[in-house]
Amino acid sequence: MADPSRPPPVPGPGAGFAFMGLGALLLAAGSYLGLFVAPRESYMGDVYRIMYAHVPTAWNTMLAFTFAFGAALAFLLTANFKWDARHEAAVEVGVVMAGLLCLQGSIWARPTWGVWWDWDPRLTTTAVMFFAFVGILALRRFVEDPARRATWSAVATIIAYADVPIVYYSVRWWNSLHQMQSSPETVSAVFVIPLRTNAFGVLFFMTGLITLRTRIASLRLRQEMAPPLPEPAPVLASGGAR
């Protein structure tokens, strides 16, 4: 059982800001290349440039949730609360990224398919994951005991993550009767460099976010699991100045 008398350690903030700075630089470079330097695509004209934001976001959303799964597993196996802090951070960042992904996908669908949502299996699975992990954040908010909160949300993350492939395949089969093939999979070399740059940019930026958010969780856990305050000094019985 998780030991509540051992709160996680709290290292300094330095690495978090550095990661975010590096990530921001890469994103600026990659976006500039993708928006202004890369040539127009044969089918989708200029709209395809959304891909330079959308695809890196997609890769990193999955990465965030995978890291959350790993942290949840690590917590259940080691009962070390540093993994609970990382788990909380990864789930929250993953939720933000998943929400962003759905918005981007919707904005891309409109000019290409004429609808705001086309039930694309990957995007629909992301929407389901978004709701599943929002539920896990709600679970964390409504459970007060730190040990129980950590254990229960870890269990919930493991089940939610294990569910992802099933959700994906069921949506894919369900939609296969109506689906026109969505975005092209093969990307030729001239498009790859901005994509890779942005992918690493989002990766570093997200790592920075998760690092900082982990600190927040660690600090809160330290406060919650702090030993009880010492007894107050007895007040002098004779009335008068203390």
């Binding site: 539920g135 896990i136 229960w152 269990v155 493991i158 089940i159 099933i166 069921s170």
Partner: protein, 221 residues
């Protein structure tokens, strides 16, 4: 195994006194079915086509009621801690509870079929296969539902938390069960019902094992 049987016997005793609540949930499900038809309008083509969806949505909504109460008896008398101190294996407790919930949900689903036939004018050319799909779908709802019911029983805002956690998780059950039911009721020229049934079986297998494995961590203290 003997622990499982003992836990099951306990569940059976609880269930035999729970007829009234189950009836109430059935009335809730029936009302939901009625409301769906009001939402769509008296267009028989539409109603017949959407009937499978309505059935499974009504069952899903009803499940939040039955699952939320499934640990009620244990909560009121702090019997869960008592059981686990015996020592009873949490796995036996889980499977007994999940089986009991499965039975309740399957009974609810089957009871809603005649209502569906009446309200939506559907035919039932393959009744036994339909029974099988209802059983598999109910099992898919029951396995994660029992786990989350145990968690949310003790949390604040538990009435919102249980569906919030459960619904995204059982999307595959909803998709597969509705598709399979629809093929069974409206015709299946390409023999696809088996692939959807297989999906249900896979979901059930994964969750009945995974949730059973993890239940111990949820109730430990």
């Amino acid at each position: 195994m003997t622990q499982l049987l003992a836990a099951l016997r306990k569940e059976w005793l609880l269930q035999s006194r729970a007829f009234a609540p189950l009836l109430a949930v059935l009335v809730f499900g029936a009302t939901a079915l009625l409301l769906f038809s009001f939402a769509v309008g008296p267009n028989y083509e539409l109603l017949r086509g959407n009937a499978p969806g309505f059935l499974w949505l009504a069952l899903l909504l009803s499940s939040t009621l039955t699952l939320a109460e499934s640990f009620q008896a244990e909560m009121e008398h702090r019997a869960l801690e008592g059981q686990l101190l015996l020592p009873a294996s949490p796995t036996a407790v889980y499977y007994a509870k999940a089986l009991a919930n499965w039975a309740q949900l399957a009974v609810l689903g089957i009871a809603m079929v005649p209502l569906m036939v009446a309200l939506y004018d559907v035919t039932m050319p393959r009744p036994f296969a339909l029974l099988g799909v209802i059983a598999l779908g109910a099992a898919g709802l029951s396995a994660p539902g029992t786990l989350y019911a145990a968690m949310t029983q003790q949390a604040r805002s538990r009435q919102t938390l249980l569906p919030l956690l459960l619904f995204p998780l059982v999307v595959p059950v909803l998709i597969a069960a509705v598709k399979a039911t629809s093929l069974l009721m409206l015709g299946d020229p390409m023999g696809q019902v088996w692939s959807w049934t297989l999906l249900l079986v896979a979901f059930d297998a994964i969750h009945w094992s995974l949730c059973g494995l993890l239940f111990g961590r949820v109730v430990e203290d």
